[in-house]
């Protein structure tokens, strides 16, 4: 994510749409990428991205420059993505009857099984879907977006050791999935 000057942030906080568009252009790739990896589908990622930027716009006035703007954006993005994905999971669960649930599991298994023919991006998406949401968020922020463990801990407001544990378990789980499906 590129650096954003204080001047742009202050102008955007006063309601200047051009400045806010600059913030959007600097950060949209990161926000959309995290939203996509955590939610697992483009439609939800689109909604999460919109939600994140509307929140950023609304909260710009309360941004005190005590932490870096990047960390602040990381925090809003990670939390919005995790909460939206949790909400979507709950909604899907409540909508599905038992029979539908079985059909969905079969569908998911079909989607997961032929990993040999997948592109690396598709394979990565499938492996990420096999993780829980917190592990997914941590591994996305670390291994795809390149944030440090400390930055992830700040963004998610958790202990750095919790981040380490989640990332280690996520990697072990991904390795396990690759071995189970014969992709190694």
């Amino acid at each position: 994510m590129q650096e954003i000057t204080k001047d742009i942030i202050l102008k955007a906080a006063k309601g200047d749409m051009e400045s806010f568009k600059q913030i959007y252009q600097h950060t949209n790739s990161f926000v959309y990428s995290v939203a996509l990896r955590v939610s697992g589908n483009r439609e939800d990622a689109k909604e999460i991205t919109q939600d994140v930027f509307i929140r950023i716009y609304r909260k710009l006035n309360s941004f005190m420059f005590q932490s870096s703007f990047k960390t602040w954006v990381y925090r809003i993005t990670a939390n919005t993505a995790i909460n939206s994905a949790k909400k979507a999971q709950r909604q899907r669960k409540s909508l599905l009857s038992y029979d539908d649930d079985i059909k969905l599991k079969q569908h998911v298994e079909e989607k997961y099984s032929p990993m040999r023919n997948d592109t690396s991006s598709q394979l990565l998406d499938k492996l990420l879907r096999g993780l829980d949401l917190n592990q997914r968020a941590c591994i996305t922020l670390r291994s795809i977006e390149g944030l440090s463990y400390r930055q992830i801990a700040k963004a998610l407001r958790v202990n750095i050791n919790t981040v380490r544990t989640r990332i280690r378990r996520a990697r072990e789980s991904m390795m396990g999935q690759l071995q189970e499906r014969g992709s190694l």
Binding site: K21, Y32, I54, I144, R168, S183
Partner: protein, 158 residues
């Protein structure tokens, strides 16, 4: 280095690419004698590392910016209507309070007027009552003259 430490190093520092040269040498030494850790390192090299190396940046569609703009605009309208609603509420409240105060003032005033009028009527009636009582109780005694009716005309006739 033992297997536990070796696996920890492989899953964390090795994948992150933050492992020191000293630790890397120790890891290599262990891997050369441990088949299980060697297999794990090979699996990481073939399976996990290429996945993260080839990730392309994802860019959102142009329509997302339009969605954000319209989302912000609709929220601003909503907050404006809330502010107007709050003002309207206070205006209405002040008006209602004034109306209630005026009503209370009118009721109290009327009650006070009624009370003073009733007192005047009561006084008048009691005076008249006394007068009639004194008339009925007159039996031609001379004492009557002592009591008197208060006016010379009345005294003349009676």
């Amino acid at each position: 280095m033992k297997c536990k430490q070796s696996k920890e190093t492989l899953f964390m520092g090795y994948i992150d690419g933050t492992i020191s040269t000293g630790l890397m040498k120790e890891l290599d030494r262990h891997i050369s004698v441990c088949a299980s850790c060697r297999d794990l390192k090979n699996s990481i090299d073939k399976g996990l590392l290429p996945l993260f190396r080839h990730v392309q940046p994802e860019l959102p569609a142009d329509e997302i910016w339009q969605g954000i703009r319209s989302g912000i605009a609709s929220r601003e309208q909503l907050s404006e209507s809330k502010v107007f609603g709050t003002r309207h509420f206070w205006r209405k409240s002040i008006f209602a309070f004034a109306a209630a105060a005026a009503l209370i003032f009118i009721v109290i005033t009327f009650k006070a007027i009624n009370t003073s009028q009733r007192l005047a009527v009561n006084n008048f009636l009691s005076q008249e009552g006394h007068f009639l009582y004194s008339l009925s109780s007159y039996n031609g005694d001379e004492d009557f003259n002592q009591t008197g009716f208060g006016t010379t005309i009345e005294e003349y006739f009676l």
